[in-house]
Symmetry: C3
Subunit: 132 residues, 3 copies
């Protein structure tokens, strides 16, 4: 079962919690044991998992990534968003969460995030639920 | 076939080889062609693959990651472990290895590692073997 | 369906587009809904996805990764290629792309890249197409 969802981002850089889309798709699919793949079909926007409790964690992740790949750094790419490509590559474009007993095996503090690095934009995310 | 294993870590940062758990699960499952997903349900502890021959590679990886995301860096998150969240995000929370002819297709020098960045702790890892 | 392909790299660091191997394997397999796993069985060479339009993006990615993990940095590993291990770990050793209606759901600007960080060499990549 493969589904596309649209997510709007409101800043140049933002972590947007998309966990509910995956939770709903698992419920709809009726899959008991399997996994859920979350895939970003973009090049300046990735996906990751991280803490959903203290919003400062997201702020620190974005700040940390900005230190790792600063927006201005004598890049050659004419569009000027090379830092966004680097940060998306560091986070990765897919993540996969196991499903057992009909539910996602996310840890207590985990949520799934779309990682916007060149927004604000409307982004597409592909979710695929699989049964094994 | 989905299994949880517990792994104890002995330092704040450590790479713990968990390959044997995956090898045993493949054998138990009898799967011939498929894959093994290794999933960390944590937010300050990821999973990766790297060299298992010279232990200095692990030391250099940890030192390299400390330079990339220093422990002290004016973070806002009150728990003080933002660097651990960043490093876990950089390594990722899952890795998947193909299985063919009943064995994991790890390269000669590859092992699977739990990446502890806020230990020492007892951690859970989820392993899922799938047949295709 | 699991296949190994050989890829030659021509520099110490290089992003080599391997998308066509995956596209051909999907066609050969006849899979309509599933996914394609791309796996690097190496420790100084990973896989990622990124932009295929402007070649300067690849140059900026390599330059960015060199700043993140400089080749010389008082590493202990005697082979002297610790930066390559770190960069491969940051990119990751696998990526998975969903397949629907018999085609890879890569975004318009996405290609799949082998990430060489300790070349030039002949590298192996494992591709696995799965049906769900």
């Amino acid at each position: 079962m493969t589904k596309r969802v649209t997510v709007s981002t409101s800043d140049r850089s933002a972590f947007v919690d998309i966990t509910d889309h995956a939770v709903r798709l698992i419920a709809e699919s009726g899959v008991r044991e399997g996994s859920c793949l979350i895939y970003s079909p973009h090049t300046t926007c990735g996906v990751t998992i991280n803490e959903n409790a203290d919003p400062d964690v997201k702020v620190d992740l974005l700040t940390g990534l900005d230190s790792i790949a600063p927006w201005e750094n004598r890049y050659r790419h004419a569009e000027g968003n090379s830092a966004a490509h680097i940060k998306a590559g560091l986070m990765g474009f897919s993540t996969e969460i196991p499903v057992a007993d009909g539910r996602l095996l996310l840890g207590t503090w985990q949520s799934i995030y779309l990682c916007e690095f060149d927004g604000p934009r409307r982004r597409t995310v592909v979710l695929q639920v699989r049964e094994f």
